[in-house]
Structures are given as C-alpha cells and as structure tokens.
C-alpha cells in the first residue's frame, strides 16, 4: 500500500473538489499543516467549508486560503486578528459558524468515532444553543451537538514511521489529534519520516490506520504569534 508521497501536491491528488468539507489541525499557528495548506491554495479548489479552531493570520496558515478567496465557510472557535478575514466576514462573503473550542474538538472526535451527536452543557442558555435540541439529564439541561465528518483531514505531526504511526510534539498536538480521525481520509505532514520500529508502540499518538497519506514537510520555519520571554537572573 502506498502511503508516503513525495510532496504535498501529489499527496492531495484525486482528493480535492470544489465545495468540499475539510478539518484542518492546529491551534493558532502552532501545529498547522503548512505544506498541505500551500498545496490547497496552489490547487485553487474553492467554496471550501473548513473546520479549524482558528483561521490563521494574514498570509499565514488558513489566512492564505482566505486571501485567495477559496473559503466559503469557517467553523471555528476564535478568529483573532485578521483584517482580510474581518473584511470578508463583515461583507458577508465569508460565512462563519462560531463553535466553542471544546465542543469543536469533541464534535471532531465524535465524527471520527461514529457518534453523530452528543449532549453537552457548554453553551446552554447562550446563542450557541439556538436551534439545538435541549435535553434534561438528572436535573440539568444539555444541548445536542453534532459530530463533524469531513471529506478530508489535514494534519501536522512531528514524526511518523512508514506504517503511518505518528507522534506529535508538545502543544503542537492540539486539534491535530481529534481531527485526524474525523474524515473520509487524512493526509499528514510530519517533520521526519522514520523506519517502522523506531517509535515506541506504547507512545503512538495516532495509529497508522488514520494516516492514509504521508509527506515529510521539512524544513519548517515555524511562526510564533506572541513571543514572550523572561530575563535570566544575573548572578
């Protein structure tokens, strides 16, 4: 079975169509599938509905696809400071479904786990609950949220072996873990592809069953949104 592709463009061959739904991993600019986003932009596929916690910033992350007007709808929890996003959103060109961050993560996990709906307290009594079924369990109200299942999931890992077993690094794991499971096919980019047997079988974050196509995207020049430091105490 062919799993490893030479680059992002070939890894997406045959998977793209206008109007498709995607799940895209990452939190802010941390752990985003940069190479695959670039390939999406270059492919020119449009009218995309994208579930992603954030929408990138201008010219970074999913901001690139907003710039090229390929996105019809975002399902996100926070869209930060992005002038082009704001312009498209306010003009009505871009549709946005705001979804609480934990609900978004769980909706993706649920979709990937064959669960079409689940009840949560998050958002009860707020705008988020509008139009949703409310059910009382043991005296408390909960709202019904739907699983998300996309046509294609794009994620970024740290290392993967040739069988597709993948590990993430630090907080770059974030939405990549649940989103990898939430679609018909998942394409992953990693910083290094290693031999089968190089990763500890007890420490795999994402088993190879979810990683149908894999590329090495190195070298990475990872962006930082808010660079904070402290001073070293001088002796």
């Amino acid at each position: 079975m062919k799993r490893i592709y030479p680059d992002a463009q070939t890894a997406l061959e045959g998977l793209l169509f206008d109007g498709m739904h995607l799940c895209v991993g990452g939190f802010g600019l941390c752990g985003i599938p940069e190479r695959l986003i670039d390939a999406l932009r270059d492919a020119g596929v449009k009218d995309l509905t994208i579930a992603s916690n954030n929408a990138g910033i201008e010219n970074e992350g999913l901001g690139k696809l907003l710039g090229s007007r390929q996105v019809k709808k975002m399902i996100s929890s926070y869209v930060g400071e992005n002038k082009e996003f704001e312009r498209q959103f306010l003009s009505g060109e871009l549709e946005v479904e705001f979804c609480p961050q934990g609900t978004l993560a769980e909706r993706c996990r649920a979709g990937g786990a064959g669960i079409p709906g689940f009840y949560t307290k998050t958002g009860v009594g707020t705008q988020v609950a509008e139009g949703k079924e409310v059910k009382n369990f043991d005296g408390d109200d909960y709202i019904l949220e739907r699983g998300i299942f996309a046509d294609l999931c794009l994620i970024k890992g740290w290392k993967a072996d040739k069988a597709g077993n993948l590990i993430f690094r630090k907080t770059a794991r974030n939405f990549n873990a649940p989103m990898a499971t939430a679609g018909k096919i998942c394409v992953a980019e990693v910083e290094e592809i290693v031999e089968v047997g190089d990763l500890d079988p007890d420490a795999i974050h994402l088993p190879g069953i979810y990683v149908k196509r894999l590329i090495s995207g190195a070298p990475y020049d990872k962006k930082i949104e808010f660079r904070m430091t402290r001073e070293r105490e001088t002796a």
């Binding site: 941390c30 705001f98 609900t103 993560a105 705008q127 873990a177 660079r227 904070m228 001073e231």
Partner: protein, 213 residues
Amino acid sequence: MPWDRNQMAARAAQELQDGYYVNLGIGIPTLVANHIPAGVEVTLQSENGMLGIGPFPYEDEIDPDLINAGKQTISELPSTSYFGSADSFAMIRGGHIDLTVLGAMEISEKGDIANWMIPGKMIKGMGGAMDLVAGVKKIIVVMDHCAKDGSPKFIPGCSLPLTGTNVVDMIITDLAVFHRADHDSPFELIELAPGVSAEDVAAKTTAHYDVAV
C-alpha cells in the same frame, strides 16, 4: 483606594488551595500565577493541551511548539504532560479542573456571564470560554467594577450575549469581592478594597446582592 490589576490577581490567588488544577484566562487572570501562596502547589492547565505550565521561556528556550491558550510562548516543568484538544476539553467539561479565573464584560446577579461578544463589533469568537464556565468546578471572575463609561458591570441581567448562565461563584473587582455559596444563593459582598465603603460599591452596582461586610 481601589485595587490595581496585581492586587486583584493576588486576591484571586487567595482562593487557590493545595493540589488544585487551575485554568487562567488571558489578561489579569494570567497574573494570578505570580501570586500563588507559599506552600500551595497548583498545576496550571492550558486548554490547547497542557498541564503544568511553566513561566515564560528564556530567550534561548523559545519553542514555537510550546504555547499557551493565549498563543504566547511558555516553558514546561518536570511535571508537565501534553494531550490533544479533545482530551483537554474532556478534562474541562468533565469537571476535573478545580478553578478557573476569567475576565468578563458583564455579570448578572444570577451568576450569568457575558465575555465574548459585543453586538455590532467584529466577533472574534468564544474560544474555550463557554466550555470553561460550563465545566470547571469553581468560576472566579476578575474585572473592573465599572465599564470605561462608568456604567456598572455587575447588573440585574446581562445585556450582552451570554457565555454561560448561572455559573459564576465569585466576582473580584477593583472595589470589592462578591461570593455565593452555591448556584441557588444570591451573591454576598464579602470584602472591600481599602478605603472603599459598602455605600461606594452600592452606588456603582445595579445587581442585587447581600452585604456581609
């Protein structure tokens, strides 16, 4: 004299207990980490997938793969663990986090909170705020007592879109502290900033509350 940002954070920090797992919001809540009482061990959670947040990194430790929920670079501790977003919010929604400290635009006397959008302004989204107020065991709000135009923020009912209903346990403002024992009880004024009188607070508050100072 009203409390400043650091004093408000320090007051919130007094609510920390040994062994607590705590999620701190952005802004003044972040400052709470600087005021953890001696002898109290607290583990900070970041909803993007981390338990055990360390201080900001030294310049040569900066790691783009290591950020907090405010997207700021941070450092790890020996006790740190990482996990994905679904597991992180399972922890939050499931009631495993003991305490969260958040900012707010409005709090109602019923404990409703509004802190995510202002109609007519660009909506940025609720992030993890709705999940935190719905799931965490104890919710403390730290906010200025009045808005910039002088209007009260602790009011009978919120006018802004809600983040959660009947969820807030304690309110710490620059003027006073309000607390309620449970979600069926009214808030009580339990503490005043130095030089602030209960009458000062009453004059700047439209919410109904009991007085216990």
